[in-house]
């Protein structure tokens, strides 16, 4: 299994002291291939009723995506190759997967933790309905959810470049 060096918590701590932690990334070989291009659900994604999500990109165009209950929203969006960044690979250490959700107070949406709020603080163009998509787990009650991508992330690729999922 690949072992990756990831910062335990991005904003504080220096390069060389013990804030770096070894994190074992739980990726099955089949899934690694699945994440790269297919829009079918990966082999190890949790099975559940389908959940459809409408994603509005920053030009206003709508995309329909369909995932499964229990699936991570960020991974779903990336499966469909939508231009969503995920620099820290869903480890709650950045704010690049920032999205706006249409019903932030929905009971089916997992409530925001303080750690997520801390990361969201640093996202540009923050709004009251901002969330980190890597912290949203699809549920049946979220079927029909509308998610909007913000006009930019904390990365400054002003030419429009969106880094591919790692």
């Amino acid at each position: 299994l690949p072992r990756l060096l990831l910062p335990a918590a991005a904003p504080s701590g220096c390069f060389c002291n013990s804030n770096w932690a070894l994190v074992r990334k739980p990726v099955a070989a089949a899934t690694a291939a699945a994440y790269s291009s297919s829009s079918t659900a990966p082999a190890d994604a949790p099975a559940g009723p389908p959940v459809s999500v409408t994603v509005i990109d920053k030009s206003g165009k709508e995309h329909q995506v369909s995932g499964q209950s229990g699936e991570n929203l960020l991974r779903l969006l990336q499966r469909y190759e939508l231009p969503v960044e995920g620099a820290c690979e869903a480890s709650l250490a950045c704010c690049t997967c920032h999205v706006y959700v249409d019903a932030p107070d929905s009971a089916d949406l997992s409530s925001v933790t303080e750690a997520e709020e801390d990361m969201l603080d640093m996202a540009p163009f923050l709004r009251e309905n901002s969330r980190l998509s890597c912290q949203i787990v699809l549920a049946a009650g979220l079927d029909g959810m509308r998610v909007t991508l913000p006009q930019a992330t904390r990365n400054f690729y002003v030419d429009g470049h969106v880094p591919k999922p790692h």
């Binding site: 709020e117 603080d121 540009p124 923050l126």
Partner: protein
């Protein structure tokens, strides 16, 4: 207006002006790490003085910037749902000007009047709060008349109505105990040079639980939790931290001493001169800020006569303007009295000899100017000045 640097604050700052010059945001080398450690220590020192968590402190260039960030930042973030702000008529100019700027952006602002004591009427605040009120901003201690607002009660009221409460505590922090949790304060402005720290630095406290969000005024690399981009001036931050730590240490001693000197000043002047008005509530106040009006004496003449003492009529930021102070007008002071008001500031380094010198000089000069004043002559004869019909020439 300001305070001198406490020598101990200068001691703490100097190394960060010379050898320890690294950018605290540089993550990859020792110059950065050592200054980052110092800045984080300063942050904790500021937090401790006000009962906050270090993560809730953002360094700024001073209380003016902090006030701008609090008012404009909160209003703009919540603008889709909330379009109303409440403040008082006696706030510092940067608060009032920020509110006026927001009015031109389409927000509505209620400027609450104050009682003749200078204190806010809580009932008027309660009735002013609307469902679309984003923020209430009321300063803790007024910079012209020294009045201390009942921030604990204001905070409790705002919390119960779900409205954020911001207080400009520039004149209060370090001089009296403040606890942001006990007082339900959501945002607070702090000024370095009001508590024997350096000029050019301040801080804003932004509550994390429940989270207060704001739209940053300054765009950039996202420093200070995204709220205030720009390299934190490490030596200034260290100075602010040291000043806060010292203020916590010295608070009880300073408070007793300043109170004693303040009483001495007022008692000696009032016992030797008649027709002196003490502006602002004397029970709920910071004793180190005394504002006196001398009837029938022209204010500028008195200030010029008292040139060798650093005094002001109105605050430093209004001292160049020609109209009398809006704060004095808000407490209902007569325009003539407002013109002849003087603010005396007493602090950690003020000596008893300086207070006595000021009292003697002030009494002498007021008597001299009153001798020259035809209005004074009329008052002595028992004429009611308000009954006079003045003619235009």
């Amino acid at each position: 207006a300001t305070t001198p640097l406490d020598p101990r604050v200068l001691d703490a700052m100097l190394p960060y002006c010379t050898g320890l010059f690294g950018n605290p945001h540089s993550r990859s080398h020792a110059y950065g790490w050592e200054t980052e450690t110092a800045v984080e220590k300063a942050r904790a020192q500021v937090a401790q003085l006000i009962g906050a968590d270090p993560k809730e402190i953002v360094f700024t260039s001073g209380a003016t910037e902090s006030n701008n960030i609090a008012i404009k930042g909160v209003a703009r973030f919540y603008k889709s749902r909330k379009r109303h702000l409440i403040t008082s008529q006696t706030e510092h100019k940067c608060v009032l000007d920020s509110c006026r700027a927001l009015e031109s952006e389409g927000f509505e602002v209620t400027y609450l009047p104050v009682k003749p004591s200078g204190l806010l009427d809580l009932a008027s605040l309660e009735s002013a709060i609307r469902p679309d009120t984003a923020l209430v901003s009321v300063m803790t201690v007024n910079n012209e008349i020294g009045v201390r607002q009942p921030v604990e009660k204001i905070g409790a009221l705002c919390r119960s109505r779900g409205v954020f409460f911001h207080t400009d505590a520039a004149q209060a922090v370090g001089k009296m105990p403040i606890d942001v949790n006990a007082a339900c304060i959501d945002l607070m402005s702090i000024s370095g040079h009001k508590l024997y720290g350096p000029k050019g630095v301040g801080a804003i406290y932004v509550r994390r639980r429940p989270r207060v969000r704001l739209e940053p005024l300054q765009s950039g690399g996202g420093q200070e939790r995204g709220m205030r981009s720009g390299t934190v001036p490490s030596f200034l931050a260290v100075g602010l931290g040291a000043a806060c730590q010292l203020a916590g240490q010295e608070m009880a001693f300073d408070a007793e001493r300043v109170d004693r000197l303040s009483q001495r000043l007022i008692d000696r002047i009032v016992s030797q001169l008649s027709h002196v008005v003490v502006n602002g509530d004397r029970d709920s106040c910071y004793p180190g800020c005394v504002n006196l009006s001398f009837a029938c004496v022209e204010g500028e003449s008195l200030l010029m006569a008292l040139k060798d003492v650093a005094l002001s009529s109105g605050s430093a930021c209004t001292s160049a303007s020609l109209e009398p102070s809006y704060v004095l007008r808000a407490i209902g002071a007569d325009e003539d009295l407002a013109h002849s008001s003087i603010r005396f500031g007493i602090g950690r380094f003020t000596t008893e000899a300086e207070v006595d010198y000021t009292v003697d000089l002030c009494v002498r000069q007021v008597r001299r100017l009153r001798e020259l004043s035809p209005l004074w002559e009329m008052v002595q004869e028992g004429v009611d000045l308000k009954s006079i019909q003045w003619t235009q020439h």
